[in-house]
């Protein structure tokens, strides 16, 4: 999993490994995080690319880490 940010566009791009995080957990985390900020999910073979859109003021890197914690929560509980 890696987190990349694009400050000009206000985007955080997260690359997830499908082997580690189950799809159910990813979908649940997207649903939960979707209430707070704009989010998009893309498939690439086994992996996922998730794009988060925050405002210019928000810390984009922390946004990615926040999403990682959501993922952790749903990976444990589902």
């Amino acid at each position: 999993m890696c987190i990349k940010t694009n400050k000009q566009k206000g985007l955080t791009i997260i690359k997830l490994k499908g082997k580690i995080y189950p799809e159910e957990a990813v979908d649940a985390a997207i649903e939960k995080a979707g209430k707070k900020f704009e989010i998009k999910k893309q498939h690439k073979k086994e992996n996922y690319i998730i794009t988060l859109k925050g405002s210019k003021k928000t810390n984009l890197e922390l946004l990615g880490y926040e999403f990682a914690n959501y993922l952790l929560y749903f990976s444990k509980h589902l």
């Binding site: 999993m1 082997k19 914690n69 952790l72």
Partner: protein, 167 residues
Amino acid sequence: MKNIELVEGENKAIVSVNPKVFPLEVVFCAAYVFVDRAYLIVDGDPEKELKVIIKGRDGEDVEKISSEFFNQLLNYSVYILQAARNQGVREAIIRRALATNLGEDSYPGEKILKKKANEIKVKRPEKEKSKKLKISEKEKELLLKDKKEIAEPWSEKKAKGLKKPKS
């Protein structure tokens, strides 16, 4: 420490875990404990080597968190091991507890118990039964006679004309 790699200037640590010793399930459980103190990312290959990236929140000591993380790994490994060992006993207890409120058909053990109870009833000698009946008839006769009216309860009518006891 070999398994903990600290990233300078970022309050971040990369912890490597052997998935053959601690499976992914245990790693998730252990990582979840620190969600309020750090941001955690599980990465790597679940067949070769897992890497947990820990980034401290608001000045939390990452080195301390990563050391505690290994303790939590051990804690959850023991927990899962014990849970697997006790699984059979737990299932048996729950099955028995649920069967108490169900009918005979759902729990075969209940039928066997009732059959045994009936066998014991049939085997009881008849003399004991007749004795019991005689005793109960005698008791009935005694109760019906009650010549001294001891069995009757106290009433105001009966108390008329009697002297009050001195207090």
